[in-house]
Structure formats: structure tokens, C-alpha cells
């Protein structure tokens, strides 16, 4: 069956001045090409359901040679990588290696638990993970006073972005945490707990918890529009019953056999021994793809599907909102614009499959 022809030409869609302005704003960042790097195999806390301590990568031998890291990053730059994501297990434990990365590739982000501050000269976006209020954090992450310490470490730091991960157990706490972050002038965005392969614990979302999360995200986006970096279309994409892969067909190498273009060609996920494996390469390795609603995955998977969203002004506006949010979340200094599409729309289907 042939897919229906779009009713609007692309030129007609971007003829709208607001849409055109946003389109011209976001397309300046089409040059971003990311890869991710596990910086160390150590962490100073041990969270339930941690992605790093699932699968084989946790057993990789740690390479702490600054010279080796510099060589790796220079090679990455040579092959076109323009944006790095420094993650597992806890990058703040190896600031000297993060600094080397920043010296070679100046655009990037670091995922941290925020317990140890990352030196200011490493001018990457700093994503600080929050898993509920401090009572929940102590239970799930076995670490006391996390939010208190995170706020002290990143007070008035423009790099900082708090990433609130929704689990079925902490949905109501998001209200309290968001208020504290807003009162402290901090920005936050939302993540969804996405089960690692084989995980069957209580943090896996259900239909009911997805719905409650959607309602809470909507409430907080409305209440703290200056602090919450999210959009209605982000809410739809990340709280749908279908996973991101099921909705948008994940373009990371792990699910994408084509190495010709895009993430399938350029993305690598390096372990802490500086090796990578195409079969495991995605932004959150060892996540169960049928449960993946992770914010980092969506940042690439949804944005890559521009073509299918260019069917009409409303759908394309929703995609632009997602793109604008993605850039504000990942790129230091990128200013998020006002929401263009305030209503929930269904993600458009891709090519029909037999």
C-alpha cells in the first residue's frame, strides 16, 4: 500500500513566519554528530536499575591515560564527531579525562550524579540525575542528601541541567523537586526510567504509571515554563505505551543495520577501555529497546525523523518543539523558544511495513 501523499508542500509549511524562524534556528545545528564515552568503570553510588552496571561494559578495563584519550578524541574529530556525551559510570571521578575531551571537541555534555562538582573550565552541559526527592534517592540510590549536595555543587552554574527520571514510585515527588529546583533558579528536564535488558523490578513503567507521568509532566511544564525544558510533543513521545523504537524506529547502530549515513554511520559508544562494539552501540546500552523512553535516545531518534513530521504545519511545529527542546537540553547556551504546538498530537507513522 502506498503511503498517502502529504497535503502540504514543505515550502507551504515553512511559509508560516513562526515556523520558518524556528526552522532556521534549529537547522543551524544539523552539524552536530555525537558519540558517547564511558569515562571510568567506577561510581561513587550504586543505583537500582543502573544502565552502566548491566551487561558486559562494566567489566571493561579502565584506561586512565590522558594521552590515549587525547588520541582517541582527535581521531573522533577527524571522522566528523562534533559533540561528545561523557557518561558511565561517573565522569566526575576522572575530571582530567573530561578536560582532555573538552580541549579536543568543545561541544558536549556530561551525565553525572552531581555529588562531585565538575571543574568550571570543562564547559560542557552538565546533566545532573535526580531520581525523586532525597528520601527516594536514599532508598533507590543509597546516597543521602543528594539534591541538597547537587544544588550546592551547581549553584548558579549555567552548565547545569537537572534530569528528573520518572519511575512509577516517584511521580508525585516531581512536584516537590521541581519547586525546589525552580526556587533555586535551576533548569530541569524529564527522563523516563527505561528497563535494562532482563530487568523485571518495580521501576519498570506500566500503562497506568505512564498516564500519571504524562499528567505530572504537563502540570509541571505549565507551572514552571521558565525552568522546565520540555514540550507537549516530548511528553507524548516519552509517555506513549509504545517505546521510542516502536514509534520511530531507532536509528542507533544497535537497531540500525545501515552504516551509510547518520547515526548508523558515525555513532559509536566507547567503553572505558576505548573499544566499541557496533552490536551494542546506542546512547543507553543494555536498555531493553521495547521499553526505551530514555531522554537521550529520544533526542536522536525523534529528531532524526524530520521527514515524516513534515506533513502539515501542526505536526511539523511539534517536531520543531522537540528539536528546540533537544538543543536546549544538550547545547550550553542554546535558548529554548516558546512552544509552537501546545496540543498533543499522535506521532506520525513511518513507512508501512508488511
Amino acid at each position: 500500500m502506498t503511503a498517502p501523499q502529504p497535503e502540504y508542500k514543505f515550502a507551504e509549511i515553512i511559509a508560516d513566519p513562526l515556523i520558518r524562524e524556528r526552522w532556521e534556528k534549529v537547522r543551524q545545528y544539523f552539524f552536530l554528530r555525537e558519540s558517547t564515552y564511558d569515562m571510568t568503570n567506577r561510581c561513587n553510588i550504586r543505583c537500582e536499575g543502573c544502565y552502566y552496571f548491566s551487561g558486559e561494559k562494566q567489566f571493561a578495563r579502565e584506561n586512565r591515560s590522558q594521552a590515549d584519550w587525547r588520541t582517541l578524541l582527535e581521531g573522533e574529530k577527524q571522522r566528523g564527531i562534533t559533540f561528545v556525551v561523557l557518561a558511565g559510570a561517573e565522569p566526575s571521578l576522572v575530571p582530567e579525562l573530561c578536560a582532555v575531551c573538552h580541549q579536543v571537541i568543545p561541544l558536549g555534555a556530561i551525565a553525572t550524579n552531581g555529588i562531585r562538582p565538575i571543574p568550571r573550565e570543562i564547559d560542557y552541559r552538565i546533566h545532573i540525575s535526580v531520581w525523586g526527592n532525597d528520601r527516594s534517592s536514599e532508598r533507590i540510590r543509597k546516597a543521602p542528601d543528594m539534591l541538597v549536595r547537587q544544588l550546592v555543587n551547581y549553584r548558579e552554574d549555567p552548565r547545569a541541567l537537572f534530569v528528573y527520571t520518572f519511575t512509577p514510585d516517584n511521580i508525585g515527588e516531581a512536584r516537590e523537586v521541581s519547586r525546589i529546583l525552580a526556587d533555586n533558579g535551576q533548569q530541569l528536564t524529564f527522563n523516563m526510567f527505561s528497563a535494562p535488558v532482563g530487568y523485571s523490578g518495580p521501576l519498570r513503567h506500566s500503562r497506568e504509571s505512564l498516564l500519571r507521568t504524562r499528567e505530572m509532566m504537563s502540570e509541571l511544564l505549565e507551572e514552571y515554563p521558565q525552568n522546565v525544558l520540555f514540550s507537549p510533543y516530548n511528553i507524548v513521545a516519552h509517555t506513549a505505551e509504545q517505546s521510542l523504537h516502536q514509534l520511530f524506529s531507532c536509528s542507533y547502530p544497535r537497531q540500525n543495520p545501515s552504516a551509510a549515513i547518520g547515526l548508523g554511520k558515525s555513532f559509536r559508544q566507547y567503553r572505558t577501555d576505548l573499544q566499541w562494539d557496533r552490536q551494542a552501540a546506542c546512547c543507553v546500552p543494555d536498555t531493553d529497546c521495547s521499553d526505551c523512553r530514555h531522554y537521550a535516545a529520544g533526542s536522536a531518534v525523534v529528531t532524526a525523523r524530520m521527514y515524516r513530521h513534515a506533513t502539515d504545519p501542526v505536526t511539523f511545529s511539534a517536531w520543531l518543539d522537540y528539536m528546540d527542546t533537544y538543543l536546549a537540553v544538550w547545547v550550553t547556551g542554546y535558548p529554548k523558544g516558546a512552544t509552537l504546538c501546545p496540543t498533543y498530537i499522535n506521532p506520525p507513522a513511518g513507512k508501512e511495513r508488511p
Binding site: T2, A3, Q5, P6, K9, F10, A11, R27, F30, F31, R33, S249, S251, S258, A260, I261, G262, L263, G264, K265, S266, T303, A304, R305, M306, Y307, R308, A310, G350, K351
Partner: protein, 88 residues
């Protein structure tokens, strides 16, 4: 009026030059066999943008799964002509 392959090639080259703001090349001098990804440096978002402009221009739909195969202006022109002919 149906276009010849050569006319299609020139028009596609013109679109790519305009969208990517390429300098020092004209539609007539653009090598239709250049590898757009490895030699011109186009990435997936650029290609998606070009695909949308081609959709407007030729009234065809380009499947997302076909992007990896569209590696040169000549290949794109044949792809478009095949699409146009199959819709006749």
C-alpha cells in the same frame, strides 16, 4: 512535461547547491557521480531536508529507509524518474 535524466540531474544539483549553500560550483559543473555523503559531506538531516524539497519539486514521496541508497545526484535522479514512471 516529462524531464530527461539530464534535466533532472541539473535540477537536483541546483537544489543541493541552494540548500547546502555550496560555493564555487554550479548545477552544470556539479559532478553527478560525487558521493554526497563521503565527498560532499552531507549527513542525514541535510539529506532529509533535500528530500523534502525534492518532494515539493517532483511530487514524490521518498521513503526514510531509502536514504542510505541515495548517495549521488545521478542515483537520486534515477530514483525520482523511477518513482514518477511507476506512478504513471
Amino acid at each position: 512535461m516529462p524531464q530527461t535524466i539530464d534535466q533532472t540531474i541539473i535540477r537536483i544539483a541546483e537544489i543541493i547547491i541552494n540548500e547546502l549553500k555550496l560555493e564555487d560550483v554550479t548545477p552544470e559543473t556539479f559532478d553527478p557521480d560525487l558521493d554526497l555523503i563521503d565527498e560532499v559531506g552531507i549527513d542525514s538531516m541535510d539529506l532529509a531536508t533535500i528530500a523534502l524539497v525534492l518532494r515539493d519539486e517532483f511530487g514524490i514521496r521518498i521513503d526514510e529507509d531509502d536514504y542510505p541508497t541515495l548517495t549521488s545526484v545521478r542515483i537520486i535522479s534515477h530514483y525520482i524518474n523511477d518513482k514518477l514512471n511507476s506512478d504513471e
